[in-house]
């Protein structure tokens, strides 16, 4: 019984390789490998000169499950939840093995961590709002994102907009979370179940922003709730949101929109959390008046809500 010690070849597709679909006969030319997930690898490819992202794996069932989720998300009108899906097919490689893949929109984004480090902590508030907005739409459509983490949040740069990628963990509300990452999982912290419900994602939202300021993460030790609160309180940019984050960690919010409302209220009452946006003008602000308007609207609505509360 000889044991094969080899890396699966879908992980090492050379650039220049032509991938031709067995069913639909579309052709893709591999440009470079973008990354590796739990179930497969993602490549940047070109199709008729257009850039697309292609996710390929030997586990055809896992690919199929992800495709089902992407299809379901395309049906949600209004918000762009996850990348657009273009094609699903099989590829018979030169080694004779059949791999399954799907082709999606290539989102050329920047990691949120690098973005915030480069353009400033005042982006915490807007990104929180954008993220909660997308999650609200996702939850209303009957899905929970599941494996919500820093790696799965990209910032589309012009204008800066949060995009969720990798739907491998996306699960129908009421089922058990399909895939998760320990640091973001409330089950790991002993602060809740792994049932797919909106509050599961909201817990992870808090962990995303903790991770931004603790890039090396940290481990579970003693009382998780106390530990996480200490970590939040120690970061000046997160401190204003502390009360809201407590509630999210405790699973108090049943809806993303409720958490969003609290964030808007906080932003209005802690000018330090939003005001400095106006002071620092990065490149896109000079080029896209639209973005100025949208930030203006956030600020306006923030003050509007604040006014309602007073």
């Amino acid at each position: 019984m000889a044991r094969k010690v080899k890396k699966s070849s879908y992980n090492t597709i050379q650039s220049g390789t032509h991938i031709r679909g067995k069913w639909h006969d579309h052709r893709y030319i591999v440009k470079k490998r973008l990354g590796e997930g739990a179930i497969g690898s993602v490549y940047l490819c070109s199709m008729n000169g257009r850039n697309v992202a292609l996710k390929i794996s030997e586990k055809n069932t896992s690919i199929t499950i992800e495709v089902n989720v992407l299809k379901a998300l395309q049906k949600v009108q209004g918000n762009k939840l996850g990348p657009s899906l273009y094609d699903v097919d099989d590829w018979v490689a030169q080694d004779g093995k059949t791999y399954s893949y799907y082709v999606m929109e290539y989102i050329q984004g920047m990691g949120m961590h690098s973005f915030i480090r480069r353009y400033g902590n005042q982006w915490v508030g807007p990104f929180l709002l954008q993220l909660l907005n997308d999650l609200e739409a996702l939850h209303q459509a009957g899905w929970v994102f599941g494996d919500l983490k820093l790696d799965n949040v990209l910032i589309d740069i012009k204008p800066p907009r949060v995009r969720l990628v990798d739907v491998g963990g996306t699960t129908q509300v009421g089922r058990s979370i399909k895939e998760y990452t320990e640091f973001y999982d409330r089950g790991y912290w002993e602060l809740g179940s792994r049932k797919a419900e909106p509050s599961y994602d909201l817990f992870a939202v808090v962990m995303i922003f903790i991770h931004v300021f603790y890039p090396n993460r940290f481990e579970k030790r003693g009382d998780s709730f106390a530990l996480l609160n200490r970590k939040i309180a120690a970061i000046p940019s997160l401190k204003p949101y502390r009360a809201c984050f407590y509630k999210a960690l405790k699973g108090v919010y049943q809806k993303s929109a409720d958490m969003r409302e609290d964030i808007i209220y906080i932003m209005a009452n802690h000018p330090s959390s939003s005001r400095s946006i106006q002071q620092k003008l990065p490149f896109w602000r000079r080029t896209t008046p639209l973005e100025c308007i949208s930030i203006g609207m956030i600020t306006l609505s923030a003050y509007g809500v604040a006014w309602l509360f007073t």
């Binding site: 019984m1 069932t61 699903v88 089950g187 790991y188």
Partner: protein
């Protein structure tokens, strides 16, 4: 297999079986009885994947119709729940493939239908995986070399119960260790819906130099017949509603 129930043995070992029947043969036997065998091989931190003692890990799982994974102790938790779930999907898929063969002819399987149909089939498979009843017998190798890994194993199993308790379908667990003092296996926990019950009886000490993996698997197989009194008492998670703002 009785419809709607998945039976699994989850074998956690560091390999090197050295007593009694060949575990690969026993695994094939279990599979015939409708019991899938998933195997997790725990490596030493300086082991390579090719380490000879662990070769049997993949062979046992393959023969038992299940999934195997080699892992370092640090990532055991995620692996245990992943292997259990993948094993379930694989089992259900096996049935679906049999049905497909009956409809489409021999050697037809999910792979041979077009991606669109495949999507519909997988929806059914996922659905069954979420709602079916699951019986897992956890079989832990407690031979001497496992001594310093047992606390990690315990943590991983608690984590597994968090994952499975989130399912819609019912779960029952039991847990055995091998070698036993007088017999091949010894119970840690009899069939129960709550894996947490093992807290009181989880072994802290490893028990000896021999590793009778084959005989232990065989004994474990018979335990499935003894599980009819258990009715699931699934607890619904309650969340505290404390206000903070």
């Amino acid at each position: 297999m009785e419809k709607g129930t998945i039976r699994q043995i989850l074998l956690i070992t560091d390999g090197n079986s050295n007593r009694g029947q060949d575990p690969v043969t026993v695994a094939a036997l279990a599979r015939e009885q409708g019991i899938t065998i998933n195997v997790i091989g725990i490596m030493e931190n300086n082991d390579s994947e090719a380490s000879s003692g662990l070769i049997e890990v993949e062979d046992i799982a393959q023969s038992g119709g299940g999934v195997s994974q080699l892992v370092y102790p640090a990532s055991l938790s995620q692996t245990v729940q992943m292997v259990t779930k993948q094993g379930m999907t694989q089992t259900i898929q096996g049935f679906v493939n049999k049905e497909l063969e009956a409809i489409l002819g021999k050697n037809e399987s999910i792979e041979s239908v077009d991606p669109k149909k495949r999507g519909e089939i997988m929806e059914v498979v996922e659905d069954m995986g979420e709602t079916c009843k699951l019986e897992v017998l956890v079989l832990i190798d407690t031979s001497a070399s496992m001594y310093h890994k047992l606390s990690t194993v315990k943590e991983a199993l608690i984590d597994l119960s968090i994952s499975l308790q989130a399912r819609i379908g019912d779960n029952v667990f039991s847990m055995y260790q091998f070698p036993g003092k007088r017999s091949d296996i010894e119970p840690i926990m009899k069939w129960s819906p709550n894996l947490d019950e093992m807290y009181q009886t989880f072994p802290k000490l490893a028990s000896g130099g021999i590793t009778p993996t084959g005989p232990a698997l065989q004994e474990a197989m018979y335990q499935f017949g003894k599980n009819h009194v258990v009715r699931s008492l699934r607890r619904s998670g309650t969340q505290s509603e404390e206000e903070f703002l």
